[in-house]
Amino acid sequence: MSGGETYRLHVDGFPRTVSGAWIGDSLLTVLRDALGVTAVKDACEQGRCGACSVLLDGRLAASCTVLAADADGARVVTVAGLGTVGLARAVRATFLAEGAVQCGFCTPGFVVAVTDLLTRRPDADADELREALAGNICRCTGYGRIIAAVQAVQRDRAVQRDRDAR
C-alpha cells in the first residue's frame, strides 16, 4: 500500500468506497471526514479515551489506532449500526433512564463497549465491568451512573432469561 488507492469498508452494514485518502489516515479520520459517519467521536486520537470505539470484524477497537486502509474489506460497526432491537437497544435505553448520559460525548463509545462486553460476559461483576470499561473515559458522570446502568441491563436480561427458560 502506498499513495491514495481506493479501498472498501463495510460500515454499519453498507459498503462504502474510500478514494484519495492519505495512506496514513486512521479509521476514525476516514469515517468522520471522508464518509461523514459522525457516530464515532473524535477526542484524544491516542487510543486512550474510547470515544472512537467501534467493532472491527466483531472486536472492540479504538478506531483512531486502526489504519483505515488496513480495514479494507472489514466490517466496521459503530453505535449507529448496533441495531434497534435486543441488547443494543436495552443498553441505549437504560443509559438514558439511569442518567448515565450527561454531555453525551463519551456515550457512543460506551454503548459500543458495553454492548460488546455484555455479549461476551453477560454476568460480569462490578470489578470486571470497571476493568472492561477502563478504555472509555467519561469526564462528566464519575462512572457511577454508567456502572449502575450496565448493572440494570444485566438485571433486566437475567429476568428475561429466566422467563424464557420457563
Binding site: M1, S2, I23, G24, S26, T29, E45, Q46, G47, R48, C49, G50, S53, L56, R59, L60, A61, A62, C64, T65, V66, L67, A69, D70, A113, D116, L117, A132, A134, G135, N136, I137
Partner: protein, 276 residues
Amino acid sequence: MLAGARESGTEVVLLSGGTDLVPALRSGERRADAVVALRRVQELRVRGAGADSLTVGAGVTYTDLVGWSLSPGLARTARVVGSVQIRNTGTVGGALGSARPAGDLLTFLTAADAEVLTASPSGPARLPLARFLAGGPAPGAVVTAVRLARPGGPQTYLKIGGRQAAFPAVVSCAVLVDRLRRSLTCAIGGVGRLPARMEEAESAAAGDIDWATGTASPAAARRFADLVTAAAARIAPALPVGPRESAEYRWHAAGVLAGRAFTRCLLPAATPDEPT
C-alpha cells in the same frame, strides 16, 4: 521491498495492530510513504507448543494471550496491558518493534530469555532478545515470532504507573522460577532504556530458595528486593526523569515490585501464576 525502499529514501513502515504507529502518524511523530500491513498474514498469528518451547507469532494479540493456559505468565502479562481496545488490537510484533522501556511483554520476555525469529531478504534468523534489541532488526527484517521455554515453575508479572488503560507502566517487573534448572530470573523495565536483568539478585535468590519445596523465607524476599533496588540504581544510562517519576522513585518501585513478585512465586501462602 523494505530493503530496496530504504536505499531510495522512501519511508516504508511495518504495520501490525497500529496502536503505536497510527496515533504517531496522525500526530506527525512518524512519517510513512508506504505501509506494509501484516495484520492479515495468518502465518504470523499462530501460537504453538513444542516439547520444551512455546512459539508466539508476531501477529498474536494480547487478547489472544490472555487465556493461554500453557503460559500463565504471558497470560498474566497480557491481561494487564492497556484496555480491551488496546489488547484486542496490539500485538507481539508491535511490542518488539516499539521496544518501550517498560513494555509489559518486553519485560516478561527479557526475564524469559526469549529468542526473536525474523525474516528478511537474507533469510530467516533467530537471535536472543537482548541481541535483537541492542542491534535492532537487520535492515528489511520482519519479526515473525518469539520463542520462549515452557514454564518450569511459578511466574508472575507486576507493574506500576498511571491509569493502565491509557498509559504504559512507569516501572515493570517479571519474575520466573524454574524448578528444574533451579534458577530464578528477574527483569525490571522503566529504569533504563530497555528492560534489564537483575543478575546479582537472581543468583542470590537461587541460593536462598529451598529447591526441595520451591519456597523461600520472607527474609529472602526482603534481600531480593534490596538487591533489585541497588541494581536498578546502577543501570546506565537511566531514563530522563519526569516530575512524578524521579529516578529514586523508580529504583524504589523496582525493589517493591520485585519483593512482591518474589513473594507471590515463592512464599507458601501466596498465589503465583502456576502453570496448569
